[in-house]
Every structure is written in C-alpha cells, then in structure tokens.
C-alpha cells in the first residue's frame, strides 16, 4: 500500500472544531501486531475510499480490558473501561467501528453498565452498510472471483453476538466460491486464542486448538481462509504453517479482501 493513508485523530478533529461521524477503534493488536497492522491499514484504505468521516484515538486509545476481564482481573478491566469511557465521552463519541471482535464485544456489551453507551459495529457490518448505501463500489469483477474461500467465524462475533451474515455477505459480493467448514456459524470451533489464551502457552493436551481448526478449514480445500479477527488471523496463519500449506493457502481478513479486490 503505497498511497498515503488519511488517519485523523480525535484530538486533531477537536482542534479543528469538528466532530467525526465514526470512531475507528483500532485495538491493541491492530496497533502493534505486525500482521494485524496490515488489516488496520486495509480497513483505513476502505474508509478513505468511501470518504468516511472518521477518526482514531491514536495514543489516547488503551486496551479495552477484554483480555484482562477474561483472565479474571475484573479490577484491571474496570480501570481500563472507566478510563476509556472518560476519553470517549469527552469526545462525545456516538458510533464506534472496530476490526476486532473482542473490542467489539466489550465496547458493545460490557461498557454500557459502566457509563459508556455507543453504537458499536464490527467492520464487516460497517463495510456492508457502505456498499448498501452506494458509498463503496468494489466492482463486479475482483481478483478473488471464483476463488474458494472458507470463512472462520470468530467466537466473539458469532456465538457471542450472533453476527454470522455480515462477513458472508461481503464474501458473496466479491464473487468468491464460499465453502463452509463442517463446524461453522454457531457451532464453529474456536481458533484457540480467546479468553486470554493468546498470551500464554496452552495447557497440556494432545494437539493445539489452532491446528485442529486449521484442519477443519483445509478440509474444504480453500485458496483462502477468511477471518474477521486479528487473533483468529494469527492462529490460523500459524496453523497453516504448521500444516505446511503456506504456499497454497492464504489467511486474509475480510477487510484485506475488500481493500485489495481490484489490485
């Protein structure tokens, strides 16, 4: 991605005396993880292309506390939540879009009780909206047309919040051949990263969860495994490597598929 991305911050907008429509919540993975940063940029590319009036918090953003909460540290979670809510409310944020289902779930479901009430969307929901409103045109023919793609449902988007259609709808828009795994939608198998597992070694067992899930995906003989979560992306990428398939199977976020469909 050579072209310059336009990424205004909330602080800049405030200094210019304007209120952006959308806050893009980048999340810690999207900000720091090398692989996830590509997803972040792909999504910004889409936002720029559709001329969306958005901003990010930049250095004022801090962990939502999702992972701390799931690890059992309710204190740390609520400290993070209350601090973030103060910032968000100070900027009078109304709508949040994020490419991370964990941030999505926490902001949407766990912040309201602590005083943070926002309309929260996953990026796949938001991109669908842009397309439906005619603000984003991704063309009839894409470089992914006819490719076999299987979608791995992120637990925190699917089961946790019953969002199953938005990502699939986008894949169909790209004209791909969508193939479902034997475990999909509400019976999808976790990638193994949730509940703070991303940050620790797994307990003793006979297999890694991401390998098992990758086997589910490879059974569909895909060209691409599509994801909608930075953690899932890491886990599935590692799984594909473990299965020695990185030459024939790509793991891409739906934002990347959309952003790069015309290249």
């Amino acid at each position: 991605m050579s072209e310059q991305l336009k990424v205004p911050t909330m602080a800049q907008c405030m200094a210019e005396g304007r209120q952006p429509e959308i806050l893009f919540w980048v999340g810690a993975a999207g900000s720091y993880d090398d692989r996830a940063k590509k997803i972040t940029k792909a999504f910004v590319k889409i936002l720029n292309k559709a001329n969306v009036d958005f901003a990010v918090l930049g250095t004022e953003e801090s962990s939502t506390g999702d992972v701390a909460k799931r690890a059992g540290n309710e204190f740390l979670f609520q400290m993070q939540a209350v601090t973030n809510i103060e910032v968000l409310n100070a900027y009078e944020v109304k709508r949040i879009v994020t490419a991370c289902p964990h941030s999505y779930n926490t902001l949407k479901n766990e912040y309201p009780e602590l005083g943070g009430n926002y309309q929260v969307q996953h990026h796949t929901e938001f991109i669908n909206e842009l397309i439906n409103a005619g603000k984003l045109n991704i063309g009839k023919v894409s470089q992914f047309s006819g490719k076999r793609i299987t979608f791995h449902d992120p637990c925190y988007l699917g089961r946790a919040n019953d969002v199953y259609e938005a990502p699939r709808q986008l894949l169909k828009t790209l004209g791909v051949e969508l193939v479902e795994m034997k475990r999909s939608r509400n019976s999808a198998l976790c990638c193994g990263a949730g509940g703070a597992q991303m940050f620790k070694e797994p307990e003793k067992g006979d297999k890694d969860i991401n390998v098992l899930r990758t086997e589910d995906a490879l059974e569909t003989k895909p060209n691409i495994i599509a994801t909608g979560c930075p953690y899932c992306n890491t886990m599935m990428t590692d799984g594909v490597k473990a299965k020695d398939k990185e030459d024939s199977v790509q793991v891409l976020d739906i934002a990347e598929l959309i952003a790069n469909s015309q290249e």
Binding site: S63, P202, K204
Partner: protein, 435 residues
C-alpha cells in the same frame, strides 16, 4: 368390603409424595446457598426461552438422532402420566379404570398411551445401545465413571421396566382386553398369557399394576440423587438462563465501587468508611466454593443431565486438555451436595471441612484451559452456562490469590503500564499509520 388395598395405596402415596417433598425442600435449600442475583428482567424473553427450549425442545433436535428419540421419550413421559391420575383414583377408591366410563374417548386415550409406551421402550433401548454398545465418545469421557455411568443406565432400565409393566398390566386386564378398545399394543402381548388360569392372569395384572405405581413413586424419589432431575429443573433453568448476549460477562459491582472511588478525586482515601459500608463489601472476589456462586449457577448444576454435548464441542477438551465443561457442572453439584450434607449433619450450620470447589474438585489447570468461546453454552440443550463458573473461579485465582499463569501476569502488567497486552510504548500506538 375390603379396604386394605386402598389404605395400603394411600399410605404408599403419602410416603412417596412425602419423601419427594422433603427432597424438594432440600434441593431448594441447597440452591439458595448461592449468592442472590437479579433475574427480574426480560420476563417475556424468559418465558419464550422456557417455551422454546424446555417445552419445545428446540436445542435437543440440533442433534437429530438423539433429539428425535428424546422428543419421543419426553412426549411419552408427559402424556402417559395422564394415566397416573386414573391409577391414583382407582387405587384410592377401589374403582376399575374409572375413566373407561367414557368408553370411546378412553379407547383413544389408552391407545395413544400404549403406542407411546412402545415407542418410549424402543427409544430407551436405542439410548442404551448408543451408550453401552456403540459407546458414543461423549458418554465415555473420564468424568463418566462409577456413579454417573451407572446412574445413566439405571434410568434407562427404570424406564424400560415401567413401560413394560404398563403394557403387561393392560395385556393381563381381561376385562380391558374384552372391551377391545385402546388395546392397540397390549392385544399382541395378551396371547403370551393365554394358557394361564384366569386367577393367575389376574394376579399378574395386579402385580404389574402395583409394581408400576410403586416404580413411579420410587423413580420420583430417585430424581434427587440423579442427573435425571432435569425433567423438572429444565423448566426453571431455561427461564433463569442467560438472556444477554453470550459474549457479555457480568461486571462485578463491588469492583465498580472500588474503581469509582479510586478514580474520584473528591474522595478522601484515608477517610473512615461511613457506617455500614464494611458489611457491603463481599467476603471475597470471585468464587472458590459453591456458596460464592450465584443460585442460578447452582440451579444449573442440579439441572445438568451429563449429556456431554458441551464437552464434545469444547475446543480445549477436543484437543486433549483436562477441561470438560460437563465436569465443571458435575463437580459443582457434587460439592454442593457435600456442603448440604455437612449442614444437615451440623444442625443447619456449615462447619468448615477444609475443602472447597477450587482445588479439591476443579483444578486451576482446567480453568486456565478455557478459551471463553461459548461453545459449551451454545451446545447445552437446557441453557446451562459453565463458562460463568469458570470466569468466577478465575476471578478468585487472580484477584484473591494472584495465581494467574506467569505469562498472563506479564500481560496484565503490560496493560497496567502501557495500555496494551504487549510491552510496547503507548506513544507508539499510532505508528502503523506511517509504516
């Protein structure tokens, strides 16, 4: 007139129902050992859940074979129990099939019962084969030994015997067979006894009749000790089950108070707490024993039928880790029973027995293996939430004992210091934009 059988029947009925009432009282007492929780919200959604999930079996049929067989047994159980009313009236008054007064309707009714009884018998036999011959994996996990394994089979035997007794009772009721209405199944069983003298057939009929009603009363009292309690508790459990999005974990109110206090510059941290606030603070954060869990979580434990659908979908369990959501529920119930017995033995007071749910039943290794993916919650046909118990116990481990795995402690320190689970500088958070 000989009233002895009627008196005997009445005594039997009183004893059966009396013991059952005692069991129910104990059950409610134990469930109430849990923490209070507000479940007065979303009433219409809760009724709907109960109607769909418990009454309508909507989640059972997600697995078509076991679901279909279960619906037969469930419908059979509910409908055949209408017959129980007649048995009770006959037993108490000495009447003979009192409802047969309306002969045509009666024929339809008993005919339905007989067909269902046969279908239930066949379904239960298939259940037994699935469990013991085909050995479906989820019935043979490590927590399914000794009592849980036997309990499952006893229930199946019980049902087979009760259905057989019902059909034999009808087949050997000479008067009923002569009526030739409603004996759709039993007419084929009747010939087995045709060579016997009438008095013998009558004795068989009476024996089957008595054993049938005794069996039902024994079964009723067996429930409390068995996973079969779900036939009653599935209804309240689906009503009180989670109505919020599955991904939403509860916010601990006690923590909110403390955090708000810490963040409020107007509060003097050294001021003496106002009168009465001390008592408001919980004894501990999270759960290390059953009394720390909510009563809904304890109701969950009593409702669990140990079907293992949760465990068969758990990513940790599928990859050989020790965690089994079913075991979490079974352990919770076992410990709750132990606490209940302790209270009974100590005149209504719980005496510290040096044990607790955490460590003695559920290990930290199991708790840390969970990915919080909600597959277990989704899979449960009666709205049990094993994940909520896992989270409560993690909270205890982390907030009371600082006993998280080292990597997680590092991760949390990173969040505290720089607002991200990785050790990156907060000021670099927007660097991606220019890379």
């Amino acid at each position: 007139m000989n009233y002895i059988p009627n008196i005997l029947f009445a005594l039997l009925l009183i004893a059966g129902l009396g013991f059952f009432a005692r069991n129910v009282k104990k059950l409610i007492r134990n469930i109430k050992l849990g923490q209070d929780v507000d479940v007065s919200d979303n009433k219409s959604q809760r009724w709907k859940n109960m109607a769909m999930i418990a009454l309508g079996q909507s989640k059972m049929v997600k697995r078509p074979i076991s679901g279909f067989l279960h619906v037969i047994v469930y419908v059979g159980f509910v409908i055949i129990n209408i017959e129980l009313l007649e048995i009770v009236i006959d037993g108490l008054t000495g009447s003979w099939r009192i409802f047969s007064y309306y002969q045509e309707l009666y024929g339809i009714l008993i005919g339905t019962f007989e067909v269902l009884a046969l279908l239930v018998f066949v379904s239960v036999v298939i259940f037994w084969i699935r469990r013991n011959i085909i050995k479906i994996q989820r019935f043979w996990k490590s927590e399914m030994t000794s009592w849980p394994k036997n309990d499952a089979n006893y229930i199946l035997y019980f049902e087979m015997v009760l259905m057989s007794l019902f059909l034999v009772m009808n087949a050997t009721d000479i008067h009923f067979q002569l009526m030739n209405s409603g004996n759709v199944v039993s007419q084929f069983i009747a010939p087995w006894f045709s060579g016997l003298p009438e008095t013998t057939i009558h004795i068989i009929e009476r024996t089957a009749w008595w054993l049938h009603i005794i069996g039902i009363l024994v079964f009723l009292n067996y429930l409390y000790f068995s996973k079969h309690l779900h036939i009653l508790l599935a209804f309240p459990n689906t009503y009180y089950g989670k109505v919020k999005p599955k991904g939403q974990l509860n916010n601990l109110e006690a923590v909110t108070k403390e955090v708000k206090m810490m963040m409020d510059p107007n509060i003097d941290p050294f001021a003496a707490p106002p009168e009465g606030t001390e008592a408001e603070m919980p004894a501990k954060f999270g759960a290390s024993d059953v009394q720390d869990l909510s009563w809904v979580q304890l109701l969950n434990a009593y409702t669990c039928t140990e079907c293992g659908r949760c465990t068969s979908e758990c990513p940790a369990n599928l990859t050989g880790k020790k965690l089994s959501p079913r075991k979490i529920m079974m352990d919770t119930r076992d410990r709750l029973e132990e606490v209940g017995k302790n209270i009974d033995a100590n005149k209504g007071e719980f005496k510290d027995d040096g044990k607790q749910l955490l460590g003695d039943y559920i290990t930290a290794e199991e708790l840390w293996a969970c990915t919080t993916c909600n597959a277990c919650v989704e899979a449960c046909p009666v709205s049990i939430d094993p994940l909520s118990i896992i989270i409560e116990m993690r909270r205890y481990l982390v907030m009371e004992q600082s006993a998280a795995p080292v990597e997680l402690n590092n991760m949390m320190t990173n969040i505290e210091n720089n607002g991200a689970p990785w050790p990156y500088n907060q000021m670099d958070r927007l660097n991606w934009k220019d890379e």
